[in-house]
Structures are given as C-alpha cells and as structure tokens.
C-alpha cells in the first residue's frame, strides 16, 4: 500500500518535471532502458550525471573567476554539460547550456557569469528533484523487497 503511494508520489514528481520542462522525452528513453534490462539504471545515470555536472560547474566557476578567462575551455566544459544533460533529458539545463555557449562564444564574461548563475539555479533545482526522485525510488525498492 505504502509502495503504491510512494509510486504515485514519484509519478507526480516526474509528471511535474516533464510539465515544467525539467525533463524531456530523452528521460523516457532511460526509463525504457531501465524497464528493459537494467534495474537501477536510472539512478546510476542520474548519480553520474549529477556528479559530473557538479564537477563541471565548479570547474567553470573557477575558470570564470580568473582575471583572464579561457573561453574556449569554458565552452568545452559547457559542451560537455550540454551533452550529458541532453542525454539524460535534463531539458532546462540543456537549454541554458545552449544559451551559455552562445554567450561564451562572444567572450562575454559578464554574460557568462549571469548564465552560470542561471545554470547553477536550474541544476540545483533539478538536482533537488532528482534526489527526491531517487529517494522515492529507494523507498519503493525497499518496500518491494520486503514484500
């Protein structure tokens, strides 16, 4: 019973995420993969994605804090982040990434700083939701295994 409740909660969360464009169709691909053969695949991918994004964001922050900004390097990191976010279907992060790349290619430091802040905000929001999601999944799993 509790399991179904939590599942519903998870479903609501996911739906809201899709609705708010935090996630897109790509995430459904992951869900499909998990259902097909790999239980725990999504949690694994998400964990990796979050760790990776966290790392990239801190690297970009560090680059932008330097007096002379290596925009190429920043761009490369943003590209990476964009790649991984679109892979997991983190739509909003990916969109901001595209925006970031445009700003970055104009060597606009101020714009970069602003966009970085935006990405950070988006990512934090997503991260929060992912964690909730993972927690819910864990609970479901725990309940399922008890059963």
């Amino acid at each position: 019973m509790a399991s179904t409740q939590i599942k519903a909660q998870l479903n609501d969360l996911l739906n809201s995420m899709f609705a708010m464009d935090f996630l897109d169709e790509q995430f459904k691909q992951l869900q499909m993969l998990e259902d097909g053969s790999c239980p725990g695949f999504i949690s694994e991918v998400i964990t990796i994605f979050c760790d990776d994004a966290e790392r990239i964001l801190s690297l970009i922050t560090e680059l932008l804090s330097k007096p002379v900004v290596d925009f190429e390097k920043v761009d490369a990191y943003v590209h990476q982040l964009k790649g991984s976010s679109s892979s997991v279907g983190a739509k909003r992060v990916a969109l901001v990434c595209i925006k970031f790349r445009n700003v970055c290619q104009e060597n606009d430091k101020e714009g970069c700083m602003a966009t970085l802040y935006e990405i950070r905000r988006e990512f934090d929001e997503l991260n929060k939701k992912f964690r909730t999601m993972l927690q819910l999944e864990q609970q479901i799993q725990a309940l399922d295994s008890k059963r």
Partner: protein, 884 residues
C-alpha cells in the same frame, strides 16, 4: 777518397761568387789537376778556382790545341786578334802623339813671336828654352824636374822684382805668366808621355798564352753559367776512345777513374755501353758527326737515356785523332723527376759535408728510385681498389635504394588489388568464389608483408629507421600481441603470457618496434608449432655485464647459451639509475614454443637475412626469411640483444633484452582524465597472466575468442550472464567512441539493449588503437572529443583500411600500443579480411558538427544526440543487415 778530401780542402780557394757552393765542393773533391809546370803560379790558381767539372788532361789539351785542326785554327784566330789589337793600340798612341807635338809647336811658335816682338833676351831664359827643347828631344823625368825647379826660382825672383823696376817688371811679369802656361802645358805633356810609355810597356809584356788563357777563362765561365744545371755530358776521347776530357754535371766518378779509360772499362760492359762504343767507332771510321739516342742501364746511375752527338776530331793533316761527344739526358719525365729529387737530396748531403761513398750513393739512388716506383705502383693499386670499392658501394646503395623504391611501387597497386578483392568479398558470392577470393586476399597480404619486411630492413640498414620514445605499458603489449595472435589462430594451441610483478606499469621505448619484434617471434612460433603452447615471458633482469661478448657468444653458439636472466632474475636487480635520475630497467622478453625446434647447424645463420633453417622448411612453411633478421636489427638498434636456444622437436626459445627508461613520477600522474585507458580491457592494469585458448568455432571472432571481458561496465557481466540476448543472429561488436560519461552510459546501455556487445573508448586516438587490436562490426563515433576528434579518427581509420598501413601521424602520438604497419597486416582475422567498418557519427547538431562534414570524413551515417533507442535500432539494423 774521403781522406783525400781533407787534404784538398786546405788548398781550397775562396769560392767564385758565380758558382754554387755545393758544386765548388764537389769539384774539388773529385778533381786532381795535373800541374802544367811551365805556367805561372797565379795562372794555375785562377784555373783551380774556376775550372769546375772538367776532367782534363792538360798535356793532352795543349797537344790538342797544338796539333788538332780545330786547335790550330783557334790559335790562329787568337793570334790574329792579338795582332789587330796591338796595331790598334799603336795607332791610337801615334795619333795622340801627333796631336801633342802639334800643340807644342804652336805654343813654341807663339813664344818665339812674343820674344822677337820685345827683343828682350835673358841668359837664363835662353838656357831654359834650350834645356826645354832638350826635354822634348829625349823625354827624361829627372831633367824635367830640374828644369821646373830652375824656373820656379827665377819666377820667384821675377815676382819679387816687379815692384822695383816698373816697365822692366811689367815685361818680366808677362814673361813669367807665359812661362807658367808653358810650364803647365809641359807638365800635362809629360804625364801623357809617361802614361803612354807605361801602356806601351805593359802591352809589350803581355804574352799570347796569357791572352789565350783569359779568353778560355771567359768561355769557360760562360759555359759553366749555361751548363750548371743542364743534364749534359761533354767529353773528348782519343782514337782508342780513352777519355781525355769530360764535363759532367753530376759526376759520380773521380777524375782518376775516368781520364785515360774507356767507357767499357768504367761501366764494365753494362747495357748500352757497347752500343755507344760501336757508335763512336762508327764516327771515327766515317769521319762524320752523327747523333743517336742511347739508353744506359748501369749499376752506377740506373737506367738513363741520352741523346748523344759525336763528332770526329782531325789533326792538321786531316787525320782523325779522336772524338768529341756530347750527351743530353732525355730519360722519361717521371723517373727523371724522381732522379732530380734524389739529386737535390744528394746536393743537400754535400752541403752538410756528408761523405757519400759513391757506391752507397748509387745504392741509395737506386733504392730510392725503386722505392718511389714501388710507392707509385702501390698508390695506383690503392686508387684502383678505392675506386672499385666506391663503385661497389654506390652500386649496393643504388640497388638497395631501387629495392626500396620498387617495394614501394609494388605496394601501391597491390593495395588496389587487395582492396578490390575485399570489396568483392563483401558482396554476395558463392562458396567457390569466396574461396578464390580468400586465396587472392591471403596472397596479397603475404606480398604486402614481404614488401613491408623489405622496406623495414632497408630502412634499418640505411640508418633511416628512427626510434620513437613513447610511454607504454609492457603488460598491455604482451597481452595485445597474444590477443592478436589468438585472433588469427587456427591451430589447437594455447597462447599464454607471464609478466612478472616487478615490471613497471609504464616504461619508455619504441613500442611499435617492440610489438613488431614480439609479433614476429610469436607468429614464427605459431607457424612452427603444431600442438602445445606458445607463450611470452616478461621479466626484469640485471643489465648484461658485457653485452658485446654476450651477443657474440650467443650468435656463435646459441644452443648452449643459457639465459643469464634465468639465474639472475631476482626482483629489483635489473634496475639502475642514471645520472639524469631516470631509472633504466632491462626487460627480458622470452618467446617460447613447443614446436619443431631448430636444428643446431641452422642456428648460426638464423638471424641472417633470407636465411631459413633449411630449404625444406622454406617449402613447407613459406616466409621470406627476413623476419628474424629484422628482429635482430631492431633489437640491436634499441641497444639490446637477441638470442635463441632450441632443441629439435622440443621447441625453441627466443630471448631478447632491451633497456627501457622508467618515466618519472610526474609523468605517470599526467591528467587522470586524459590518461589513456582502454576501458574495454576491463583488466587489472597490473595483471600478469594472460591465457588465450583457441576457439573451436569455424569462424572465430577475434577477441571474443578469448576470455577477456569486453566492457568496463560493472553490470555488463551481470547482464550478459543473466539475460539472453534477444537478437542473437544480428549481434555484433560495437565500438562506442565517446568522452562524456553520461552519454557513454546511456548509449552503451541502449546498444546493449539492442543485443550487441559494446567496447567503449574515450577519444579518437583510443578508437584507432582499439581498431588496430580488434575488429568491430560498427563504430559509434562522437564528433567532438578531446585528444583526437571523431572526424580525424575516422579519416585515419579509413586511410588504413584503404592503404593497409597507418598514417605516420598516428604512431608517435600513441602512448600505448598502436601496431606497426607490418604488424597491422597480421591483426586481421583471416576469415574476415579487411572490410570497411561502418562508422556512425553521433552529432550534437551544433554548427561545428555538420552532418556533411561527417560524411566527408568517411563516416557512413549519423545520428543526432541525444541518441534514442529507436534511432540506434534503425541504424544498427541497417548496417548489420548488410554486413552479417
């Protein structure tokens, strides 16, 4: 003769400036002048100082001048000349006297006039005048002096009286002046007369002999001046052909040895002497002068050629009394040049008063000459030899160059043939056609292998081969070599590898070449082994103490040569530290097999090119015989050594040792993100044992045939074990090239979902390495990647597929182990051959990753990111359908 010299030297005259010192010395040394008793002492002395090289018989000379036709003629002309000169002198004197007496008469006349004019006569004056007259009559110095004295007294008186007697004084003064003029005139006249008398006296005293000798002296000087360096001999011989006179610029005999003797007596019948004597007799008989070239070969002065002129000498009656001859040396230039040098040397010796016995001198001369000729001959021979060697070397070089060029030229069209055959093999062909194609392809590969071998070999020989120093992992190398061998293995053999624990994870060296050597040895081992094991042992050994002797011994008697490493292989012994702080380890690779072994007698020539153990082997097993020669060359190029021990029918072990630098710590910890790790290995990097068993499949699939895990995914095993693949028929090996971890996870998972196995690498370079090691059915290639992007990697892979070798730019940048060209040839699974691996780009749809660019680089298709299962499925199905 030397003793004589000392005596002679005492009498030596100071040198006439005209003559060089050495000649002077020489002449005195070899010269004894007979004293012509009737000549004055000083005359003799003049002769002594100026007569140089004549060897003359003075009596005979006098005789000659007296009795011979030429001599008397000469005397007559001399006398005529003398007479003429005397007459001339007399005439000149007469003329002078005439003019003087004329003057005197004039003066007298004037004086008379003056005296008559004044009628003034004084006693003294008259007497003076009388006396003065007498003076003219009989010129006497004494009287002239007296007169002058008298006059002086009177003049003094006269002058004193001038003041006292007015007019008388005036006349007296005038008279005195006139007297004085007259007196001066007289004085001059007197002196002239005196001189005249002296001259006359001297002229009268000169004898004809004196005149003659002075003329002779002048002629002699002139001749000496001209002849001092001329290679000329002038001589006079009497009727019996005995020398009476000889002039020789380079006399080597004393006068007493020549004068009065004949050529035959002097030269003892040497070659040419008789000819000359006959020639002279001929002239004597005919009475006509003649010329002839005569070559002497005597122990005295070696071989010399003279152009001789011989003329008869007649006496006044017209009878022949002897001959004059002149010889001009015209010996060939080279020897005469050498003789000239020798002469210079001999002259120098004289200068330093070194006494040469003329025999020894001749010996020296001859020895020198012989030596010189010998040297000339030797030098000529050397030059010929050298030019021959140069010629041969050039030929060899040209031949080698041509071989290399030819090989290259053959390879290009051959790749075309092989490539086309491959394409044909990929189309639908029936079994028979496929078999034929297989023959074409395997033959083509063999030829390519051979050509690559030749190219490698000539590269090493010509010193063009450059070693690259890159970081690599020895374990990986061993594993890859075995894996590659396993891939093409079609025998029931076990391939194993043992890497000892103390082998460093990474070392520096030319991994291409090391792989090449190992692959060569392993494929050799596989070729000659029909059952059992082929394996590689890798361990650290101590530096061989004397590499040279070790190698030498090994090649001489390699069978008994025990691997020194086996005994000394304790853990850290092999490490040493250089000054630079870099550690050097000696790695010993052992390739062993349980094959047919090598007969003992074949071992010494084993490493020689084109050598095979026997003709039987060559027939049975094929091959070029270059493989081991190349291995040896490469090992030695890397300053290592290679040995072999073998027992027939039991197996062989090839051992080679190479020094490798161990990279410093900071090199190891480069950038963890970028450090190359082929994640598909999925192995502990320090794992030291590999085992590859033969696959019994009809069509072994390269690395699948081993027990190696194919992916790095932790849950890959889980999945593989726990789940049966849905589409087993269409399953293939997919290489995923992607740098983004998240993307990797997603894409890999998707491909696996579709039933294919996945190997993941992180950039283009690693992709190339993976392609070198394994055949993939399809490559999913990200475009934007660090180190090497997908476009370039694709281009290189395509170029390899077309040309059969890797672009040069790949090798040096590879840190791990890209295969060498010849090696790569062998990488192929024989059953699959080379074919175009489909490469599918994964583009991010950004402007930098345009689809057309991907296709231009040689990619077959593209999917846009993020990839979906559906997209992938479509693409994979497309490509697998036509390939499998």
């Amino acid at each position: 003769m030397g003793e004589d010299l000392d005596l002679c030297e005492c009498d030596e005259e100071p040198l006439a400036a005209m003559w060089p010192t050495d000649i002077e010395d020489k002449s005195n040394k070899q010269f004894n002048i007979e004293k012509p008793g009737n000549t004055e002492e000083n005359l003799l002395k003049e002769f002594q100082s100026q007569e140089e090289k004549h060897k003359l018989d003075f009596m005979k000379l006098a005789e000659l001048t007296d009795y011979s036709d030429i001599g008397s003629h000469q005397l007559t002309s001399l006398v005529k000349q003398y007479k003429f000169r005397r007459a001339n002198a007399f005439r000149l004197l007469q003329e002078e006297l005439d003019s003087l007496s004329k003057q005197r008469q004039e003066i007298e006349q004037r004086k008379q006039d003056i005296l008559q004019e004044h009628r003034f006569v004084e006693k003294n004056q008259i007497s003076v005048l009388d006396d003065g007259y007498d003076i003219w009559g009989a010129p006497d110095l004494e009287r002239a002096k007296k007169v002058t004295f008298l006059y002086k007294n009177e003049i003094d008186v006269g002058v004193n009286m001038t003041g006292e007697y007015g007019t008388v004084g005036y006349w007296k003064g005038r008279a005195v002046r006139l007297e004085r003029l007259l007196e001066d005139s007289l004085k001059r006249e007197n002196i002239l007369v005196q001189k005249l008398q002296e001259c006359a006296k001297m002229e009268e005293q000169k004898l004809p002999v004196e005149e003659l000798s002075s003329i002779l002296k002048r002629a002699d000087n002139f001749l000496h001046f001209i002849l001092q360096n001329a290679p000329i001999v002038i001589a006079h011989q009497d009727k019996d052909l005995r020398y009476r006179f000889i002039y020789n610029h380079f006399p080597s005999l004393g006068e007493e040895d020549i004068i009065g003797k004949t050529d035959e007596e002097i030269l003892l019948g040497s070659e040419g002497v008789k000819e000359f004597q006959d020639f002279k007799r001929e002239v004597l008989e005919n009475g006509k002068a003649a010329k002839r070239e005569i070559t002497y070969a005597t122990p005295l002065f070696g071989k010399k050629t003279f152009l001789t002129y011989v003329e008869p000498v007649f006496n006044k009656k017209g009878e022949i009394i002897g001959i004059n001859y002149m010889g001009f040396e015209v010996t060939d230039q080279v020897p005469s040049d050498s003789i000239f040098r020798l002469e210079c040397f001999i002259h120098a010796s004289y200068k330093f008063k070194i006494i040469f016995d003329f025999i020894s001198m001749q010996l020296v001369k001859r020895e020198k000459l012989a030596k010189y000729r010998e040297e000339m001959a030797v030098q000529k021979a050397k030059e010929t030899e050298l030019s021959k060697t140069i010629h041969v070397t050039e030929e060899t070089m040209r031949a080698k160059q041509m071989l290399a060029t030819m090989s290259h030229e053959i390879r290009s069209p051959l790749t075309g043939v092989v490539g086309m055959a491959e394409i044909l093999a990929n189309t639908n062909v029936d079994m028979e056609q496929r078999q034929l194609l297989d023959v074409i392809l395997s033959s083509g590969d063999l030829v390519l292998q051979l050509i690559n071998d030749i190219l490698d070999f000539s590269k090493v020989e010509s010193g063009v081969m450059q070693l690259e120093e890159t970081k690599f992992r020895p374990r990986e190398v061993v594993r890859h070599v075995l894996q590659t061998a396993a891939a093409s293995l079609r025998k029931d053999l076990i391939l194993e590898g043992h890497v000892s624990e103390d082998i460093p994870l990474e070392v520096m060296g030319d991994v291409l070449r090391i792989r090449q050597i190992l692959t060569n040895l392993v494929s050799n081992a596989v070729k000659f082994t029909h059952k059992g094991t082929v394996g590689i042992n890798l361990r650290v050994v101590s530096k061989p103490n004397s590499l040279q002797t070790y190698t030498a011994n090994a090649t001489e008697n390699p069978v008994t040569q025990k691997c020194c490493a086996e005994t000394s292989c304790s853990s850290k012994v092999g490490k040493e530290t250089e000054n630079t702080g870099e550690e050097i380890v000696w790695l010993q690779y052992e390739v062993y097999d349980t094959g047919i072994g090598i007969p003992e007698k074949a071992i010494p020539t084993l490493f020689k090119r084109y050598m095979q153990a026997s003709a039987d082997h060559a027939r049975k097993y094929g091959g070029t015989g270059l493989g081991l020669a190349i291995c040896k060359q490469l090992v030695e190029l890397m300053e290592g050594n290679i040995t072999v021990k073998s027992k027939e029918n039991e197996g062989s072990t090839f051992t080679f040792m190479l020094p490798c630098k161990v990279p410093l710590e900071q090199d190891l910890s480069d950038d963890p993100d970028e450090s190359p790790t082929v994640s598909c290995s999925g192995l502990d990097p320090m794992e030291g044992f590999f085992l590859f068993k033969p696959k019994t499949f009809h069509r072994p699939k390269s690395p699948d045939s081993s027990h190696l895990k194919q992916t790095s995914s932790v849950d890959h095993d889980k999945k593989e074990n726990g789940k049966s693949r849905p589409n087993h028929q269409s399953s293939g090996q997919v290489l995923l090239v992607e740098d983004n971890k998240v993307n990797i996870m997603v894409a890999k998972s998707m491909v696996e979902q579709l039933g294919h196995s996945v190997c993941v690498v992180n950039n283009g370079l690693e992709a190339i390495r993976a392609v070198q090691q394994t055949r993939f059915d399809l490559i999913l290639m990200d475009v934007h990647m660090p180190v090497m992007d997908g476009l370039q990697a694709t281009r290189l892979i395509r170029s390899f597929e077309e040309n059969g070798y890797w672009d040069a730019s790949v090798g040096p940048t590879c840190q791990s182990s890209p295969a060498s060209s010849s090696l790569s040839q062998e990488c192929y699974d024989e059953t699959r051959k080379r074919k175009r691996t489909p490469i599918i780009a994964m583009t991010a749809n950004s402007f930098a990753e345009s689809a057309s660019e991907c296709l231009d680089s040689g990619m077959d298709s593209y999917i846009s990111k993020p990839v979906t299962v559906q997209n992938l499925k479509e693409i994979l199905q497309n490509f697998f359908a036509c390939n499998l």
